[in-house]
Amino acid sequence: MYTEKVMDHFKNPRNVGEIESASGVGTVGNAKCGDIMQIFLDIDENEIIRDVKFKTFGCGAAVATSSMATEMIKGKSVDEALKITNAAVVEALEGLPPAKIHCSVLAEEAVKAAIEDYMKKRDEAK
């Protein structure tokens, strides 16, 4: 049911964990629906994502999409990261079953939520 790429990211998820005093944290989904994704960003003064970590409660696709999304935004600028769509995450994973597409949407939303959190903190600091 899952591609090899999905299974690889499920078996060996990249960037699992948390970042203490992160520049931005995004949490999306809810336990009732069976998926929660949390993304932690460490963003430098040039607005480059220096480090990213995630924690996910959910199915294999939820873990794999979070892992892939963190890989895709690591080292990118905040603007570039905001442009990453769920379709790009699915493509990078070489496909997802139709019932699991919502996991990729959640991954995109988690990235966006973390960046929004960063921007809010940044603007408040000004």
Binding site: F10, A31, C33, G34, F57, G58, G60
Partner: protein
């Protein structure tokens, strides 16, 4: 190591069953309805199978109709009983934890305007009480359908008590005994059962064949229309090899029932205890004692069922989360929700179902691996409290 712990989904066909089926494919292959020696030989196989199946549940051979499986048997019983009792009324009682073959059929019939449906709640162990059935009965109740044992959590219902309540009020009682047949003793007379669905592949028989017990005197129309097979109760050329397989498997399961319950029950208990001892924050689902001897079902907090299944599968262990159908959809199990579990805990259920072919080495392997898998997933979960 490959470990199969999904025996509630389906079982391995035992060798004796395959051996018994082969002549029905290659030697006695006549159509039982034809008029020649080949047909008579096939018919004899059917007769003998019918006798064997009837004997196991204390029925008469004429009361057994062979079908294409448990779901067909359920559909036939429900639609047939309602159609045959139109004059009396159209109220039907069932429970919230039934298999979808019963629940979805009745809900479809309700939408079609054929019935008024009462869905009884269950207690925290998924038990349907005879009292709740008695209280729900009305003058226009024509049918009660309550499962013998639950496919997800293994809880066994008080079938004899429910049967008595129904018989006293002359209401037909159907039970989906797909998970129970061949695993626990069933006596259709003593338990006042009118209709009962059986599926061969749940007790080491082949897939695609089942039976419906129809008590003598209960008349229900055929679901499959066509030829006059099965005394005009189920059209279609009989699946003779499958039926021989069903009967052989059931006879063997019945002969070994007591010793298997002890043997499988001991391994089940080891697994139950092992999980409770080594993994914190787990909750046993289903009745602690009154459950099928092969069923283990735990909710494992802070993680989701599918990821547990994938991790187990990577390590050669076949298990399920809720029912196999449930893990294919996104909603948590309707059984666990009806038992009062919150959604997030229902999402994290793990069902391990053993068979008489399960070995102690296999259970040890699972007990060795499972705590590591659970910890790994919990470390990844935002719900898992850090201090733990």
């Amino acid at each position: 190591m490959k470990v199969y712990l999904d025996n509630a989904a389906t079982t391995m066909v035992r060798k004796e069953v395959v051996d018994a089926m082969i002549p029905a494919f290659t030697t006695y292959y006549g159509n039982p309805s034809s008029l020649h020696e080949f047909a008579r030989e096939a018919e004899q196989l059917l007769d003998s199978a019918r006798k064997d199946v009837a004997a196991v549940i204390n029925a008469k051979p004429d009361e057994i109709v062979f079908t294409g499986g448990g779901s067909e048997s359920d559909n036939m019983a429900l639609r047939g009983a309602v159609a045959a009792n139109k004059k009396k009324g159209k109220h039907v009682i069932t429970s919230a934890v039934e298999h979808h073959a019963v629940l979805y059929t009745l809900q479809a019939m309700e939408r079609e305007g054929l019935i008024d449906l009462t869905i009884l709640p269950v207690d925290e162990y998924a038990v349907v009480s005879a009292e709740s059935v008695a209280n729900a009965l009305r003058d226009d109740t024509v049918l009660v359908s309550i499962m013998f044992a639950n496919n997800e959590v293994g809880t066994i219902n008080p079938i004899a008590e429910i049967g008595k309540v129904c018989r006293d009020k002359s209401v037909l009682f159907h039970t989906d005994a797909v998970q129970a047949t061949g695993h626990v003793p069933i006596d259709v007379v003593e338990m006042n059962i009118d209709l009962m669905a059986i599926s061969a592949h749940k007790f080491h028989g082949p897939k695609g064949v089942g039976a419906l017990y129809i008590r003598k005197g209960v008349r229900i129309p055929s679901l499959i229309i066509g030829g006059g097979q099965e005394k005009k109760r189920r059209a279609g050329t009989e699946n003779v090899p499958g039926i021989v397989g069903l009967a052989t498997a059931l006879k063997l399961a019945n002969e070994h029932m007591t010793e298997n319950a002890v043997k499988v029950g001991a391994l089940r208990d080891k697994l139950l205890k092992g999980i409770a001892d080594t993994i914190p924050d787990v909750k046993l689902n289903g009745h602690p004692t009154n459950r099928l001897p092969n069923n283990v079902n735990y909710s494992i907090r802070y993680i989701e069922g599918e990821s547990i299944l994938l991790m187990l599968d990577i390590n050669g262990i076949a298990a399920s989360s809720g029912s196999a159908c449930t893990s294919g959809s996104l909603d948590p199990s309707h059984v666990l929700l009806a038992m009062g579990l919150p959604h997030e805990i229902a999402h994290g259920s793990l069902r391990l179902t053993l068979s008489e072919f399960t070995t102690e080495e296999e259970i040890d392997y699972v007990l060795d691996l499972l705590p590591q898998i659970i910890q790994r997933l919990r470390d990844m979960s935002p719900l898992y409290p850090k201090q733990k």
